[in-house]
Amino acid sequence: MDNLTMIAVASIITAGVTIAVGCIGPALGEGRAVSTALSSLAQQPDAAPTITRTLFVGLAMIESTAIYCFVVSMILIFANPFWNYIIAHAAGK
């Protein structure tokens, strides 16, 4: 198992772990937010437009964290800087 293969394995495993762990927090947060929003909607149906809009904005904010994880995993797979570095190094050799 040379360096290239090790980097590939590490990158792929890390990407998977990143997206898996990074989704847990936002998922919990979004679940809480949605449940609270639903009970608020049940209590005040008149305020439905405001609650819905605020919920979406809030969900988008929470989701940003998951998106960062997603971006990191994407970078690890498709644009891994070490991968490029090792390739360039190996070519230089």
Binding site: R53, F56, V57, L59, A60, E63, S64, I67
Partner: protein, 228 residues
């Protein structure tokens, strides 16, 4: 199998290239413009003569205006051009995924980044237009001067999040569809397409609402000041 339509290149001359994303976007622009042109060519004035297409457009425009106004912007007509186009473009691009060969331009990070950059540019422009250059710049020092770097970082990161959110959703949607077509070619892709349609509409709404909120946040300080 490719990740986005950027990789489908029809014609290239050095730096300039004509890929699938740009072509699809042109197609979308054509559809939107010609549709609008055809419907608004002869608008009826009398209530009884309004066609269903005209009422559809009126409902869309009125709804957009109403949503913009509800977020807190005083003159919805002024922002309708930018925010409305944002919504219509993303929604159309996402809804057309029901056609088999079609690949949404919003599934390409280049397009979503372009849209997020448009928002990133539009927010200061509208802010300056509303409350002047100094007034707008003061909003970066809002709670205290120490918050200036954080405000700037938030400005950049939210633009980035905006683009990646839309890209991730649309890309994952088409990706799941492609994988499902290989594994289970019947029934399940349709369900996922339906889910993709819902996600696409929700994402269009979220993108527009977030842009509206950002613009409102940039333009709202003036109102607070005058109120005080």
């Amino acid at each position: 199998m490719h990740l986005s339509s950027d990789e489908v290149i029809f014609w290239q001359a050095g730096f300039i290239k004509l890929n699938g994303t740009i072509v699809t976007t042109w197609l979308l622009m054509l559809i939107l413009t010609i549709g609008a042109k055809l419907i608004t060519r002869n608008l009826a004035q009398n209530n009884a003569e309004i066609s269903r297409w005209q009422s559809l457009l009126e409902v869309i425009v009125t709804l957009l205006k109403q949503q913009i106004a509800e977020v807190g912007l005083k003159q919805p007509q002024k922002y309708l051009g930018f925010l409305g186009t944002l919504f219509l473009f993303i929604a159309t691009a996402n809804l057309l995924t029901i056609f088999p060969i079609y690949e949404p331009p919003t599934g390409s990070l280049s397009t979503t980044l372009a849209l997020a950059l448009a928002v990133f540019i539009a927010v200061p422009l509208f802010g300056i237009q509303e409350q002047g250059l100094t007034g707008f710049l003061k909003t970066y020092l809002e709670p205290t001067a120490i918050m200036l770097p954080f405000n700037l970082i938030s400005e950049l990161s939210r633009t980035f999040a905006l683009s990646v959110r839309l890209f991730g959703n649309m890309m994952s949607g088409s990706m799941i569809l492609a994988i499902l077509l290989i594994i289970t070619p019947f029934v399940f892709p349709i369900v996922m397409t339906l889910l993709g349609l819902l996600t696409g509409m929700v994402q269009a709404y979220i993108f527009t609402i977030l842009a509206t909120v950002y613009i409102a946040a940039a333009a709202e300080i003036c109102d607070l000041k005058t109120d005080n």
